[in-house]
Symmetry: C2
DNA sequence: AATACATATGAACAAGTATTCATATGTAAA
DNA sequence: TTTACATATGAATACTTGTTCATATGTATT
């Protein structure tokens, strides 16, 4: 990683901009957590699950059939969605019903959709 | 992909839910585009670039130094951010100044941050 | 035209990840 | 306490992707 700036002349006007911005951006840890969160949304299967749950709570098998994917695949994905607190669940007999954890999910989906639909 | 529902008994109450939800969720193409968009946010380097540009327009070299990464890496990432219309740019002499393309970026970042900070 | 700076790009490698398959765990009914 | 259903999980594979390295293109200055 040495000489990483070999292409850049840093005796110029933007020196100050870099320093100011460097102080303003969130910490490394926060950026890490943020990108981790958005990674979750970066998969078609998970997006589909999240959209589905925005309309109704559903059990694993329902989601499997809706998405036409295997029960195993959905279960793996739900585990990821659970661990990032995007979905919550409740047990009822043999079934487990999943639903969205909070309103941020829908807001994020909405903003994303607005962006691509322009 | 045969027998993908072998674990599920579909002679039960949720039949109707599945059908209703199936009609409500966005099309495959839209889900694909959406997940593609969020993939962009799912990388620490790109998140950092987006945050940086939310404070000031910057040239490639400035961003490289700010992030302490190579010019090449940043250039590759900017290409991705350009092609998904998250950043725009203007030329000035030898430099190219990048900035955020629209307000959605900041809204999405803000929502994400709210989610992880709870 | 030649030089120097700023940015872009292609190929290759390393690291991460979504799905499948087989199987395990949990839960209720008989 | 068997049996059947619902969900979870570990390992393996195939696929994707971020960075590096080397080099190319673009742009101004001399």
């Amino acid at each position: 990683m040495e000489d990483q700036f070999e292409n850049c002349e840093y005796i110029h006007i933007h020196e100050e901009t870099v320093n100011t911005v460097k102080k303003s951006i969130p910490s490394e840890n926060k950026l890490y957590d943020l990108s981790d969160l958005f990674k979750i949304f970066g998969d078609k299967t998970r997006i589909k699950i999240l959209y589905a749950l925005s309309y109704a709570e559903m059990c694993v098998c329902d989601i499997a059939r809706l998405t036409e994917m295997t029960q195993s695949a959905i279960s793996h994905q739900l585990k990821i969605l659970k661990s990032s607190k995007l979905v919550k669940y409740r047990k009822e007999g043999k079934s487990i019903f999943y639903s969205l954890a909070d309103g941020h999910v829908e807001t994020i989906l909405k903003q994303g959709r607005e962006h691509i639909e322009e």
